[in-house]
């Protein structure tokens, strides 16, 4: 089997990938921050439950639309600036960007939010998972990038599936069942996991960009991807 030579992810420069990672990270950070602040206010009784929901929905709808458009543009830019399996990965990423715009618009799906939220999370996570699988398998992808992509597969999947799993468990526990004490601890974990849904993949993209840039610097003779 012919051994293929490694090449950086981007053909000319890594700016689009860095911007992609940065936008995803900032969006993830902002979403996590807004959710934390609003839920803290609501749980302390500073704002009513309905007011909380209205503000959270307004934030989600606006932020996800802006982030979705930016991510879509950046994924396309990245696809244009790359080739091969990396480009295919970015194309799948563009689908995740489209799905991002659905966040906060659960009512568009004709199912209860207990299902529509996880469905949207999985719709976002699946293209990203495919992206990372492709990169992890790409033999021309630098070794460090492949490892980060490999780890990111599990991060993205876990962030999408684990909270769904926990909510399904909670929904099956009737009031008064002591099982809630055990599952309750998982709820605490899953609420934090939800906040990492965009933050961690964003950081993965930034790390992959860094590793790819380092690879390009260390191997100047290598033709770029």
């Amino acid at each position: 089997m012919q051994k293929k030579s490694k090449v950086p992810l981007m053909r000319s420069n890594h700016l689009p990938l860095i911007l992609l990672g940065a936008v995803m990270t900032v969006y993830g950070l902002a979403a996590a921050l807004a959710a934390t602040v609003l839920s803290n206010q609501a749980m302390r009784g500073m704002i009513a439950g309905g007011v909380y929901k209205a503000r959270q929905t307004a934030f989600d709808q606006t932020a996800s639309l802006v982030a979705g458009i930016l991510l879509l543009a950046l994924f396309i830019w990245c696809a244009v600036a790359s080739k091969g399996i990396v480009r295919v990965g970015f194309c799948f990423g563009a689908m995740a960007a489209l799905m991002t715009m659905l966040v906060g618009r659960n009512e568009m799906l004709p199912v209860p939010s207990a299902f529509s939220g996880p469905v949207i999370a999985i719709l976002v996570a699946l293209p990203l998972t495919i992206l990372f699988i492709l990169w992890a398998c790409g033999r021309r992808v630098p070794r460090g990038c492949r490892w980060v992509a490999f780890i990111s597969i599990f991060i993205v999947l876990a962030a999408a599936i684990f909270p769904t799993y926990v909510i399904l468990m909670v929904s099956k526990i009737p009031p008064g069942d002591p099982a809630i004490l055990t599952v309750g601890k998982l709820v605490d974990v899953s609420t934090n996991v939800i906040k990492l849904r965009y933050l961690l993949p964003g950081l993965s993209f930034l790390l992959i960009a860094y590793l790819s840039m380092r690879f390009a610097r260390k191997n100047p003779a290598m033709p770029e991807g």
């Binding site: 309905g50 002591p178 939800i194």
Partner: protein, 561 residues
């Protein structure tokens, strides 16, 4: 051979020793059981290992007969029936009371069957009665005075639970003596709160209602400004139905905003007066008339029952209702089921002026446990009540609750329905909800019981995981939820019906007719008839028996300060 006979001798000696030990052990009975018992009986006893607080059981056991009402929801596991179940076994094994039912009847037939039974002289030792029966049977000399046995036997938990509702024991007291044990529940749960579609308020930029003027304005805007955004003027500001004063869409909360208290008795100028004939009712009626005229109330409310109104709520046609704290469980949940963004927020009843409005409510005491006159062990009832309050109401042990209330995995079998001795803690939901809100504020559910821990997680799922269906718990038990409003009702923002006794003679005879007159008058005025109808109704009310009823109620109040 020698060895074999030696072994036989040793075997015989061991048998003799064991037999001696068994005989000695069986002779050594009569010890007083510890307060926390591992109850007698075989090792398979369901009470073994339970941490229960019980007195010394009767020895020899006593007999107690009773009667009970059941309905289709009373179900048994295999091998159990109404005379052989966990409660009859508990009374027998733990208290030494052989408890049997003389008869079992459907709930709708209970009063009639009890009357027949008593008239025929077949009186159970202990049974449940309503307020009228309590008075009737006490006057007939059929009941035992429980004052002394209550004083001697009631446990601190029993006393606490029976005094949480200020009128519970008073309702069971006649001529200064206690004739029954009131079956307590949460009276304040009947108090009205205002439910408003928060999502519609947010959409139209409306602030929380602080006065009745705000309520009227919200109602108008919900009607005129297409809050559901479908481009059709098909929404009503406020829900109500032909029954007028139900727990869903009831007008009592609306009238309370005008300091009017329909259907209850309260003190005014040193006298007890009937709320429905007070002048404040007129202001509320005029406001409702205007709302109806401008399309803010369903024009067909006069023929729609609560089910039809529920349908309007489910379809998102209505944005506000005066109801009770549990309305999100039904029917407001239907609204959210059809529209994920629907969110009903509870508000305290706003006032028409600067004086705070008071939400009216009545005592939840509807039944009493009594003991027949001549029964040798009236204190047994108090012991049964103690058993319930000490071990069930105040116990958070899962094992105890599972054995006596039911297994959570088999929710259709509700074990406490097998016994008439069921008292609920009046302030339990309010206290529990307060602890829940404190835990939510701290993000720490430590110390909550299993039920509240479950509610904590459901509310957390709403606030931290975006599960919109969890809004029901948020709106009821969450921060700023309806139960938090009831705390205020228990304080300065509530008005408890002053009359909690059995119907007076004239009341029993005339009040149903007078109430029908009242409903007809209210419906007519709302639908556009002259407000003079109200004045006419007041005159008629007094003339057709009201004067006598007021007199009787005031006499009762003097005897029951």
């Amino acid at each position: 051979m020698k060895t074999q006979s030696g072994e036989k001798l040793q075997f015989k000696l061991i048998l003799l020793l064991l037999a001696s030990i068994m005989i000695l052990t069986s002779c050594g009975g009569g010890k007083k059981p510890a307060p926390t018992v591992a109850p007698s009986g075989s090792e398979t006893s369901p009470f073994t290992g339970l941490n229960l607080s019980v007195p010394d059981p009767y020895n020899p056991p006593i007999e107690m007969t009773s009667v009970i009402a059941v309905n289709a929801t009373v179900k048994f596991t295999e091998g159990n029936d109404i005379n052989n179940n966990i409660w009859t076994r508990a009374y027998r094994d733990l208290l030494g009371i052989n408890f049997t039912y003389k008869w079992v009847v459907d709930g709708s037939m209970y009063d009639q069957k009890l009357g027949l039974s008593i008239n025929s002289g077949d009186i159970p030792d202990m049974f449940a009665v309503n307020g009228s029966q309590l008075k009737l049977y006490q006057e007939s000399g059929l009941l035992t005075d429980l004052t002394s046995v209550y004083d001697a036997e009631a446990s601190p938990n029993t006393r606490d639970i029976l005094t949480q509702d200020p009128v519970a024991l008073r309702a069971a007291t006649i001529d200064g003596k206690l004739w029954g044990i009131p079956l307590t529940d949460a009276s304040v749960a009947t108090a009205s709160v205002l439910w408003v579609r928060q999502d519609w308020m947010t959409k139209l930029g409306i602030e929380a209602p602080a006065s009745m003027a705000d309520v009227l304005d919200i109602s108008r805007r919900f009607t005129e400004e297409d809050p559901d955004g479908n481009g059709v003027k098909d929404t009503f500001g406020m829900c109500m139905d032909k029954d007028l004063f139900g727990a869903i869409g009831g007008l009592q909360g609306f009238f309370n905003g005008y300091h009017a208290y329909p259907g209850i008795w309260f003190e005014r100028d040193g006298k007890i007066v009937y709320g429905s004939v007070q002048p404040e009712i007129r202001d509320g009626l005029l406001a409702l008339q205007k709302m109806y005229a401008s399309g803010q109330i369903d024009p067909e409310f006069g023929v729609k029952d609560v089910n039809a109104m529920t349908e309007s709520i489910a379809q998102g046609k209505c944005g506000m209702e005066f109801g009770v704290w549990w309305n999100p469980y039904h029917p407001l949940n239907l609204s959210q089921a059809n529209n994920q963004d629907a969110y009903w927020q509870a508000f305290p009843i706003p006032s028409v002026d600067s004086a705070p409005a008071k939400s009216q409510y009545s005592t939840a005491i509807g039944s009493f446990l009594v003991v027949r006159n001549g029964y040798e062990h009236p204190e047994a009832l108090i012991r049964m009540v103690n058993f319930w309050t000490d071990n069930i109401v105040r116990s958070q042990e899962d094992a105890v609750r599972t054995v006596f209330l039911g297994d959570i995995k088999n929710p259709d079998v509700v074990l406490y329905k097998y016994t008439p001795v069921v008292l609920w803690e009046p302030n339990a939901s309010i206290d529990g909800s307060r602890k829940l809100r404190e835990a939510l504020a701290k993000h720490d559910p430590t110390g909550l019981n299993n039920e509240m821990a479950w509610r904590y997680r459901i509310i957390q799922a709403y606030f931290e995981q975006g599960i919109k269906e969890a809004w029901v718990e948020v709106a009821t038990n969450g921060p700023n939820g309806a139960v938090s409003i009831l705390e205020g009702v228990l304080g300065d923002y509530g008005l408890l019906n002053r009359f909690y006794g059995p119907p007076t003679p004239t009341m029993a005879e005339k009040l149903p007719t007078l109430q029908t007159m009242e409903s007809e008058m209210i419906t007519k005025v709302i639908m556009g008839d002259s407000i003079d109808l109200f004045d006419q109704f007041v005159n008629d009310w007094y003339e057709l028996g009201g004067t006598k009823i007021v007199e009787e109620v005031n006499q009762w109040a003097e005897a029951n300060p």
